[in-house]
Symmetry: C2
Subunit: 421 residues, 2 copies
Amino acid sequence: MVSDLPTLIESLAQRARQASLAMNSASSEEKNDALEAIACGLESNRKILLEENQKDLNAAEENGLSNSMVDRLRLTHERIDGMAQGLRQLIDLPDPVGAVIEKKNRPNGLEILKVRVPIGVIGIIYESRPNVTIDCAGLCLKSGNASILRGGKEALHSNQALATIISEALTASALPEDAVQLIPTVEREALNHLLTLDEYIHCIIPRGGEGLIRLVAENSRIPVIKHYKGVCNLFVDASADLKKAQKITVSSKCGRPGVCNAIENLIVEQSVAEQFLPSCAKDLTEKGCTLLGDERTRSILQDFEVSPAGDDDFHEEFLDLRLSIAVVNSIEQAIEFVNRFGSGHSESILTAERARAEQFLNQVDASSVYWNASTRFTDGFEFGLGAEIGISTDRLHARGPMGLEELCTYKYQIIGTGQWK
Amino acid sequence: MVSDLPTLIESLAQRARQASLAMNSASSEEKNDALEAIACGLESNRKILLEENQKDLNAAEENGLSNSMVDRLRLTHERIDGMAQGLRQLIDLPDPVGAVIEKKNRPNGLEILKVRVPIGVIGIIYESRPNVTIDCAGLCLKSGNASILRGGKEALHSNQALATIISEALTASALPEDAVQLIPTVEREALNHLLTLDEYIHCIIPRGGEGLIRLVAENSRIPVIKHYKGVCNLFVDASADLKKAQKITVSSKCGRPGVCNAIENLIVEQSVAEQFLPSCAKDLTEKGCTLLGDERTRSILQDFEVSPAGDDDFHEEFLDLRLSIAVVNSIEQAIEFVNRFGSGHSESILTAERARAEQFLNQVDASSVYWNASTRFTDGFEFGLGAEIGISTDRLHARGPMGLEELCTYKYQIIGTGQWK
């Protein structure tokens, strides 16, 4: 590297800002052509991609990374196809930019349009999965944003190979070459400096574990949209259809326990607890799920192995086949429980009574609140967004699944006939 | 104070969070009743308000505050009426909470509603004007948010008197008493601690000068919506109606030079500069405006006193009767100038040609971009929002004038019939 690190990062950010100004005028066709060019680049550079990925895999093995880490790192023909396919799905989605969100005519004759526009420059900080590079570059391009990508050190060779493919595709396209840039180093100093450059970068999205997100949020002077953990709760009310409730409980815990929209806590209204819990616990334990419970749960489930659950357990995102269970006296207590222990991600009530459902939907403070459905549906595709950069647990700008529209902001265009005041 | 400062601030923030959960279910009527009670409280406590305000005014004089600072601090019968009137205007505005922003039916039978809800707990950090206390408390109440107010030290007695009136009104109302809380100290330590409490506080809005905003933005772990300076530009294109252009130039600089939507830079296309500038400069100087200019401007305006304008001048928000002028070769140069020197607040092009107007409207990166109108219209009331907490120069969440809807976020309510996956 010829220049020092802060200078390098600053120049990269400046170029991203310039690219983002040019991206404001990019047509849908130009953006789609660039996406297709990247997809073709992936397909025609499989050999290099796999070779570079092998370097990362070798290093991972030397460094004793866990099997699941190595698996996340690995590129295969199938995964390369998957990345290309993801880009082509983006091509088919409507362009979010330029839509008139609102239109007003004011008494003084001014016409005010609220128009959707790209945010500008978005920094994505992520961990070891190399497909995030393509995923995020594609989402940012389609939404008219310039992006700065900073992947994990384990995937550096793979990411650099992917960045070269993107860069070649952009150079041959009508879009600015600097519309996607990968930070060519994983030094912490580079990241720290990046997070101070609020003059050029408008938004930071960290994608990864809680540690990474906290690190970024605490050090960033640039607004961060956080995608924190999902401590999701399912409440089985007295009037719930208990057969459906069992199906939903088991599937939303055991279907895919490692995802953020899986439930971590089951809450049962006391009057149905004795009827519901034993049968449900049997089903759960047969699927290999470990149970934790409060006192009442443990006394009902005496025939099962249920460890005591404390506040820390109810607060925890297990990401595993573990479930904490609490018995409550009333819906009010359930709502209090959810607002206390939930992480504001996805919460569900199962009940036959509309009034209770409405109480839960209104009083529970979370991005996605369900009545008679599994929390597992919190997902950009399930919500019909077509794509997703993540699920925001923040309240400002975007809450819940973030798609292309959520990667945009708006501007007012005001058309007059010489008005002054 | 019985407890130490961090404990005091933390307990205040916790109570705000509890209040905000209760505010989620507050009806429009309950909120409006509380606003009316505060308005009545202001009117029936004039004597105490003026007495407490006099203490602040005396201290201000002792401390040698400038006349304009003292004026901002002063409460009068008229200003008390103004505050009460502001609250009653809020009562008349529609409740932003509960509106269904979007509704979707998914192929699996799920019904997904995107519903507008309060953000939660909002911290407002401001300077010396005591009316901001009432203004912000009212806006936050109407939008269903709990607020934590931290005013300037110069206005502490006035603010405490106002907070007492609010608190008495809330106690007698159906809303939680802690829905509005004033931090009872202006110690910096209290503010610094407040800005770390992202567990309880969801958004910080600093209202004041650039120094205050930077201080808050750099120290806050909570998302901040910034209302930075307005370096607004007016571009007179070759095809502009020069008579109207002169009227708009003079009014948008001299009408009220101390506000953020007044212009700081005038940009003139070279082919009309010789015709336009002398007449416009005459008008401006007659109104007491000091002129600065680039080389071409100064050579055209040889008969006027025009100091040389450098990059620093074009970057500066004068908030005063001073105007920097630049002559450019083309609309492209004008757009580049605006994107370089403007602060992303409000920018205007005066032109008769639609194609150029569209180029400017699309390529200029600012919250509000005008065609043939003064930048002075960037304002919540002029935009029909009915009220305004400020003008955001940020891109995330809210951009431009922020009214009641922008003090809200959304949540998804998903209604199923037992769906699981």
